[in-house]
Symmetry: D2
Subunit: 397 residues, 4 copies
Amino acid sequence: MPKKTVLIVYSGGLDTSVCIPMMREDYGFDHVVTVTVDVGLPAGELKQAEEKAKLLGTEHYSIDAREEFVTDYIFPAIKANGDYQGYPISTSIARPLIAMKAVEVAKKLNVDAFCHGCTGKGNDQFRFEFVMRTFMPDTPIIAPMREHTMTRTWEIEYAQKKGIPIGQSINKIWSIDENLWGRSIEGGLLEEPNYAPPEEIFTWTKSWKNAKSTPTEVTIEFANGVPVAIDGVKMSPLDLILKAHEIAGDNGVGRVDIMEDRMIGLKVRENYECPAARIIIPAHKALEDLVCTTEERAFKVLVDQKWGELAYEGLWFDPFKDDLEAFINQIQPRVTGAVTLRLFKGSCQVIGRASKYALYNEDLASFDSKTFDQSEAVGIVKTHGMQARMYRTVKDK
Amino acid sequence: MPKKTVLIVYSGGLDTSVCIPMMREDYGFDHVVTVTVDVGLPAGELKQAEEKAKLLGTEHYSIDAREEFVTDYIFPAIKANGDYQGYPISTSIARPLIAMKAVEVAKKLNVDAFCHGCTGKGNDQFRFEFVMRTFMPDTPIIAPMREHTMTRTWEIEYAQKKGIPIGQSINKIWSIDENLWGRSIEGGLLEEPNYAPPEEIFTWTKSWKNAKSTPTEVTIEFANGVPVAIDGVKMSPLDLILKAHEIAGDNGVGRVDIMEDRMIGLKVRENYECPAARIIIPAHKALEDLVCTTEERAFKVLVDQKWGELAYEGLWFDPFKDDLEAFINQIQPRVTGAVTLRLFKGSCQVIGRASKYALYNEDLASFDSKTFDQSEAVGIVKTHGMQARMYRTVKDK
Amino acid sequence: MPKKTVLIVYSGGLDTSVCIPMMREDYGFDHVVTVTVDVGLPAGELKQAEEKAKLLGTEHYSIDAREEFVTDYIFPAIKANGDYQGYPISTSIARPLIAMKAVEVAKKLNVDAFCHGCTGKGNDQFRFEFVMRTFMPDTPIIAPMREHTMTRTWEIEYAQKKGIPIGQSINKIWSIDENLWGRSIEGGLLEEPNYAPPEEIFTWTKSWKNAKSTPTEVTIEFANGVPVAIDGVKMSPLDLILKAHEIAGDNGVGRVDIMEDRMIGLKVRENYECPAARIIIPAHKALEDLVCTTEERAFKVLVDQKWGELAYEGLWFDPFKDDLEAFINQIQPRVTGAVTLRLFKGSCQVIGRASKYALYNEDLASFDSKTFDQSEAVGIVKTHGMQARMYRTVKDK
Amino acid sequence: MPKKTVLIVYSGGLDTSVCIPMMREDYGFDHVVTVTVDVGLPAGELKQAEEKAKLLGTEHYSIDAREEFVTDYIFPAIKANGDYQGYPISTSIARPLIAMKAVEVAKKLNVDAFCHGCTGKGNDQFRFEFVMRTFMPDTPIIAPMREHTMTRTWEIEYAQKKGIPIGQSINKIWSIDENLWGRSIEGGLLEEPNYAPPEEIFTWTKSWKNAKSTPTEVTIEFANGVPVAIDGVKMSPLDLILKAHEIAGDNGVGRVDIMEDRMIGLKVRENYECPAARIIIPAHKALEDLVCTTEERAFKVLVDQKWGELAYEGLWFDPFKDDLEAFINQIQPRVTGAVTLRLFKGSCQVIGRASKYALYNEDLASFDSKTFDQSEAVGIVKTHGMQARMYRTVKDK
């Protein structure tokens, strides 16, 4: 009789660790595979996951997807000024990549089922399962936390019984997700819309007290819509993102505090920390504002909004996303140049932008000055709002 | 033979002062009427305009439209999160009111023509003339600066010849427009997209050095979409706007630096100073985010964008604006509550929001918890992106 | 011990009849209430439902909601040019009213549960339940067809066993829903996108052979966005809709054949017969085109599209729908006038339109001719596409 | 002294013929070049233009651009379901090509100026001049009809004096523009919105009396978004368009009667005859409806609307148009398949569609049926409109 195998998308945390014995004992799998994908895990967590997996006797795979995450997920997000309701979609865009890597292992090992640790109220179940179902439509997906609605207390007890190291899980107040594009912090009072988040939840951005005491001017250089250098220093994509986090964070820039409408319809207050996004995206947008026509600027707002919705919903492989990206990518070759920002104590202000594709330059300022006589504006002004004026003449009939 | 009368929309500045003798000598008017509308003029300017008008012998009218500007122009802008390309449309929305007051005088005096001081490259000619043509379609409009493309030097010489006091006009580097909703500063190198604006152009917002040295938490209370109190103190609309300027400005909040596409198609770099707008509008938006559904939030972005375009173009009496405002106003009764901001050294962060119309509250967080079982999410997740998944199965045929 | 009562939304058809004994025997209700709402049932069906209910011993309510359906549901749809993907949303907009009437009875009788006959693949379950949950959030809803996925054969056998008259159910090929705004016909091969629907499914629209042999010119008069007279004869709302069906149907106008994306994500081919909608809505739109500005026309397309989506989804009481209707209703007072159509053998062509609010009339054609000199167009033409031209000068750098 | 040369965009009609002597006598050109571009001129008109040019002694160029017009202008319009306010933009998209061909000649001959025959009220001046200014920004453009506002009578007298053959110009009632994509007919009473157009203005579409007496079923096959075969017969692009005109016209399909908002703001009633467009575009759209996701369908409406506006305005080389086409073209490879239409006496009804990229087929109808249990719909239905229901609970606070 063939051994039945399940693949767990494994973070090393309490939820997914609990899944390991459960898959064996309650779901009847003979063989458990765990896959941990590094898209920017906090220091030590990858190793910790590996050790736990070893202890719990799974066939474990650690996958370093950090560079792929930057070039194939973060960079498209930058081109789209990636945002959903004020949130720079950091967790959202990592989920499809993690699922994709899990699918790659699953295909190679020919597993019989997927397992993930998401609950039934959040967004991640949608993001993971969309990718799994897209690329392995016939493989069942098990979500024990959704099926059984377990409490944290129950999980800790269960873990202790099964010999799962629980570390600081017992004292954990905040539920944190961290990757190269940002941190999300949830739990406790943070959901309450009118509760000012305590300083302690922030680790990447300095407080107003500790932030640098003089402004930092930073110049980000873009080529074809993506950042390639900071302050004149060319960097690899990964290094550039890390450097951007550091500069922004040192100046207290990157805290996000919003009301977010989740996919199932719940409105929740969310706190994020996205220093790099909060300087790169305003810079990218400022450059677009320099090189795009009025109509392009106005319409790209709609395109970006739709892109942000799809990315938030984890629909990374939706054809509509391809369509939107075709629009977006048509513009990006022009999004080449440099933007200077002034960062200080939490504020970020664009103070300069330059591009050889600018629809402004000293010559263009006098564009048409040879042929455009100011008096020729008369006709333009006279016809301005003509139908609105007609309307006034007929409206009181 | 009847005396011919012209009405000059009069700021008291060089351009419109030059128009006075010109109307008599070059355009053949017997009688010159000047109208100065106060929508938040810098201290002393109204009086100065009156004195100049007296000196130059016009029939002068000073009109205090400050309260009307706040309630009938700034407040609708707040409801629409009034913005065009990052600019809180401060000058834009004052022009229709100024023109409207000029029309009222013009109708009473039965004048034969209007005169204004706008050039042929800017936006203000559109805003003034749209209102004049809407309400007095048969009255000609004269724009000497547009007709003759005069230089500043020529104007100063002409003014001296005609005995017009020119004050500091000779040394003026910046061209400034100031009203209750903001200041715009133009001239010199400021148009250059990559030139960091010098500190001296800002007078309402403190520099990072001089701004308050500890954060300010401010709570703005809204009723029906408009601000009614700050930090618990109810204020008249006018007082509230002035107070908001003070609080924001003291914390260095309110500087706007953008690439703006003008109506005739020129892209220019613009600098504005709009402290009140930069705290009231984020607060208003944060409250909308709390009380609106997901779909309402996404669509209001489009409605606000269109409203901003119309307001920027001075189409204050366009029926399309009425339509958009009907949509906007349908939502506003719910935009009632309080938002807390943390201001510091140029940064403005929403840190709390509350409303009795919130689609979140402790009870609602558990909304449907009686009936919604997490396991019921399975069906939702399974159908998520179904067509996108179908697409993948057929796309490589 | 109190008697437990269930209210069945009752059409008199097989599905909902089967629910009656099932509610008693399988779900343990002591008392069954049936509610049949007439929003334009085929002749005889209301009576038939009443007789069946009597036979099966329920407490039955027949509610004539036809006038309310026309004025409060069809009329708003006309104002919004009500459409979803080419479908004039006839069934969609009837469901909320039917549910609403059921809720009214349910509140009066204080029932313990709702029951409806929808399956789990279609749209109607969403439309019914949204209204029930909105107005009676704590009352459970039972959908036996969804829970048990019964086959038609099983239902017929069960019905025979329980003494439910099954009429022609046995021979029924098509599944038909009919109300005052249209008929939908499903079943058999009709779902196949490439199968030309047979003539027999159409009963309101004549075939090309039987349609009138000469064109019919019909003039529909509107006031405030709704039709008030046909060919000069004022009619009640209900009579007008019936007359419109007759005129359009006699000329073979009103067949709709589209690919429709259902709410759960299935794409299906649908056939509808909506004669009145297919002449009234084009006429309404033609009148809007006459009285609205260019921008209003373009933006109302988006507003109408969103309205159509909400109406299709049965979200009749969504605040977003109120917002969109505020926009729509702002325009409608101008949508007053008359439109003439030429109908013939399936075609419908607008051939004339008139309104006192037209932004065209003989005088307005010469609008501005006093002041607008053709030569003044030069400036407008010269600045046309200025940024696009700038783009060409920089793009190959 | 070098000879000064002007290039006239020459139709052979009265207006542009009058320009020839005028350029010599009133504008001082030594040398007149005429260029006639055939994008589907009525039979004989090209030859007639050549003869007139010879008679009037110009250096004449006749350019056959018909194939280029179909593949590079009509085909992109089909992909975008090319439409502006109901008008299939036939004249609009020909103008840029005509201007482009004129520019090519102008560059080769190094001419000193362009001349065209457009007036100052219409759209064509914008379309011609945008292309000329884009590609030869320093070459002046002369528009005598706009400068002088000549009457028809004056032109005829002038032509007679100068020996220009005037043909039937004297008796011409209608002003007609004709190309491969459609005819536009203007003049006389046709502008009046409530005047039913007389049968005589139509030459490509048969009247209801003369149209074929039985329905025609026609199948149009598409590959990559463009038509490639009719009724199974592959054809060249040009032949296919001509065949489509014939089939549609024989069935009286293709008349367009709309209120159109011109670029300068005038609203006018327009009559067009576009038989091919009126069957190809509905077929193209029906195929898109079969292969696109719900979201793609909804958003493409916006993209197509914007594309139609740009095309109408003659902004054929605007970067925004490139962006929109990138979106559109991303979808087109899937728009491959066949659509069957039933044409009869002016009506056109889609009755079947098939594509290997359909998001529907017999297999997909049962898509997920292995995994999707109807009872799983419960969760989807329960969360439907959740925020709207929350809103109802808080709105009356």
